[in-house]
């Protein structure tokens, strides 16, 4: 996988967004991570440019979640370097705080704050981490709620919403921080089919705005429409990395073929 390939992919994209500028947003170099003795990430090299959409797939337990959780330092890597938005993730707490405000993340189980209303959920980050006044934060929050098409739910509590709605709120919550990068960890796998659709629609719209996205998902349809590159992970390694057309139609590795045959 080379730079040129990525840029070709950028040109052939169906979206109207201008081609990704070459500024690097995420860069993994020789990253290794262990859980005790268990080697979860093995020599990961990965570069994500601004505006790129990466889909990560792979069998269960292959380290996908671990990979993207390293990007906002929810997990710590033990060797190699991870540079996000020009900042190396090390033990500098200021760096970590900064990265976390710049990187949004959406989880499989939504992880909304059950004791706060939707609006309060959305305003919390802007008010406390970005130090924006409450009124401004509420304006921004309402705007994003409209974008995810549930402005009328602002005063409700998360438990009163359907799964799909909760996940859209979770996306809006991350967007309220005005992040440069969005991470998605299987955002649809806890949802019913029709809810999957509404969440994917929101994600596709988000992709259209040029957001840098790293998405762990098994929704291959989504990958084909949106992704600039698809990555297959297995046993902690990046096995194959390619643009979607090539990835699905002409997989290079045995393991990719096997994975695709199981999932499609």
């Amino acid at each position: 996988m080379t730079e040129t390939k990525t840029q070709e992919a950028g040109k052939t994209r169906k979206h109207l967004v201008s081609a990704a500028s070459s500024s690097v947003m995420i860069e993994f170099t020789q990253v290794n991570k262990w859980y005790d003795d268990f080697h979860v990430l093995k020599n990961i090299d990965l570069t994500v440019h601004q505006g790129e959409r990466i889909v990560v797939c792979g069998p269960s337990g292959s380290g996908k979640s671990t990979l993207i959780r390293c990007i906002n330092h929810l997990e710590e890597h033990q060797s190699g370097s991870i540079v996000v938005d020009g900042i190396t993730l090390n033990r500098n707490l200021k760096n970590i705080d900064y990265i976390r405000t710049e990187v949004g993340m959406v989880f499989q189980n939504f992880n909304l704050f059950p004791h706060l209303t939707i609006l309060e959920n959305l305003c919390l980050g802007p008010i406390w981490a970005r130090k924006i006044s409450r009124a401004d934060a509420e304006d921004v929050a309402m705007k994003y709620l409209e974008r995810v098409k549930i402005p009328e739910q602002a005063e409700k509590y998360p438990e009163q919403l359907s799964g799909g709605q909760q996940q859209r709120v979770a996306i809006a919550r991350s967007l309220c921080m005005n992040p440069k990068i969005m991470l998605f960890d299987e955002p649809t796998s806890a949802l019913d089919p029709e809810m999957i659709k509404e969440v994917l629609e929101v994600m596709i719209e988000l992709a259209d705005t040029g957001m840098t996205m790293v998405v762990v998902t098994h929704e291959m349809g989504f990958a084909q429409i949106v992704a600039d590159r698809v990555i297959l992970m297995d046993k902690g390694e990046i096995v194959e990395e390619n643009e979607p057309v090539a990835f699905f139609n002409n997989p290079q590795h045995e393991r990719t073929k096997m994975f695709l045959s199981q999932i499609l």
């Binding site: 033990r91 500098n92 707490l93 200021k94 924006i132 401004d136 921004v140 705007k143 005005n178 040029g210």
Partner: protein
């Protein structure tokens, strides 16, 4: 999604990349820990320096040498012999600790049995029974133990008759007698060859274990349920009984006899002991009952249906399916209830039962001073006991986890 209006605010200054001493995680961690340690050390230094100055000013001595000094008093209830003016403070400590353990162990046994009983009554399908059990639990749990102890002592045990009119609890046999001086029990005096009976008992127990294992194995093999309870009981009674009779009944009972104004012989338990035992047992049984109830209710009701659909009868259903599943929920709180029983036995001080606190923290402290040593020794004793008990709990939890895996 370049939102223009608040993008301005998100333009934070990008932090520096190189090593930043004050924002480094490890530096911070060490710093916080040092700060905590320093704060604790400061407090400790403050207390210790004040204490040493105070001790000096008051001319008080420190050190544990006083433990070898003879104490000028004696405990009226003790499990090891002692004499006022001869026994040392160290011996007083041992007496107090033994007294505490003695009454609390008995209370633990009694409260556990009573608690299980009441807990099961609580679950009875008989409305009246379960409500009476509920009333018991609520009354005992919602009033202070201290009031209960004092109440038992003042209004039950101090109203007991004098020695001459002792209440005979053994129904005319004059074996177990209760009066305002305490509870009088016959006490066994072992003869020379009693050890043979003891061995017979051990043999019987081993035999029962082997028999039960064999019974289970044979049930696994043949499917026939071998009755175990009655043969085991028989074995346990008959074998030691036979040996006991054959060796010529080498056990005598020292029976309390009225001699002059008091009983002699047998064993005497002072009223304060009996009060404490009764009060502790009654109080902690109410907690145990709730634990038992909650534990049994925590077993999924589907388990009953499943077991019944397998054709198990009520008794076996409880013993094979429900109780084993309820135990993991019952035992941990039960064990901490035991710990509270031991701690609460310190309320003995209110009615003058010579437990560790009353002998050591009160009487010894008044007589000898040495506040720091006495207080810390007493606390250390309870901590030690609590360590043992939490050790028990850990062992139990480990075993449960092994089973669950």
């Amino acid at each position: 999604m370049a939102v223009s209006d608040n993008s301005k605010k998100s333009e934070q200054i990008k932090p520096k990349e190189q090593f930043d001493f004050f924002h480094d995680e490890r530096v911070r961690s060490v710093l916080y820990q040092l700060l905590t340690a320093a704060a604790v050390a400061l407090v400790a230094w403050f207390l210790i320096s004040n204490t040493s100055k105070n001790l000096e000013a008051r001319g008080m001595h420190t050190g544990f040498s006083f433990l070898n000094v003879a104490a000028g008093f004696d405990s009226y209830f003790k499990l090891i012999p002692n004499e006022a003016g001869v026994g040392t403070y160290g011996r007083i400590f041992v007496i107090g600790a033994l007294n505490t353990l003695y009454v609390s162990l008995l209370a633990i046994v009694a409260s556990t049995i009573l608690g299980f009983f009441i807990g099961i009554l609580r679950l009875s399908s008989n409305w009246l029974v379960s409500k009476v059990a509920l009333a018991y639990v609520e009354i005992f749990r919602n009033t202070p133990l201290l009031i209960q102890i004092v109440f038992w002592y003042i209004s039950v045990f101090s109203l007991l008759p004098r020695v001459r009119n002792s209440i005979d609890l053994s129904g005319g046999l004059e074996l177990v007698l209760l009066n305002n001086r305490g509870l009088y029990l016959p006490w066994p005096v072992p003869g020379d060859s009693l050890w043979l009976t003891g061995i017979a008992l051990i043999v019987a127990i081993i035999a029962v274990c082997v028999f039960r294992r064999w019974a289970k194995a044979s049930q696994d093999k043949t499917g026939q349920i071998v009755p175990t309870i009655i043969p085991s009981c028989l074995l346990l009674i008959v074998l030691p009984g036979a040996v006991y009779l054959l060796t010529g009944m080498p056990l005598e009972w020292d029976v309390p006899k009225l001699a002059g104004l008091n009983f002699s012989g047998g064993a005497t338990l002072p009223p304060s002991f009996v009060t404490l035992l009764v009060a502790l047992s009654a109080y902690h049984a109410s907690y145990t009952a709730e634990m038992v109830r909650a534990g049994i209710l925590s077993v999924n009701s589907g388990q009953y249906d499943a077991a019944r659909s397998l054709g198990l009868k009520q008794g076996r259903l409880m013993s094979l399916v429900i109780i084993p599943q309820a135990m993991p929920a019952i035992v941990p709180p039960l064990i901490s209830n035991w710990m509270s029983t031991i701690k609460n036995s310190s309320l003995a001080i209110a009615i003058g039962y010579p437990d560790l606190v009353s002998l050591f923290m009160q009487t010894s402290l008044n007589q000898a001073g040495y506040a720091i040593e006495l207080v810390s020794m007493t606390m250390a004793f309870y901590m030690f006991v609590s360590l043992i008990i939490s050790g028990l709990l850990n062992i139990y939890n480990k075993r449960i986890q092994l089973v669950e895996r």
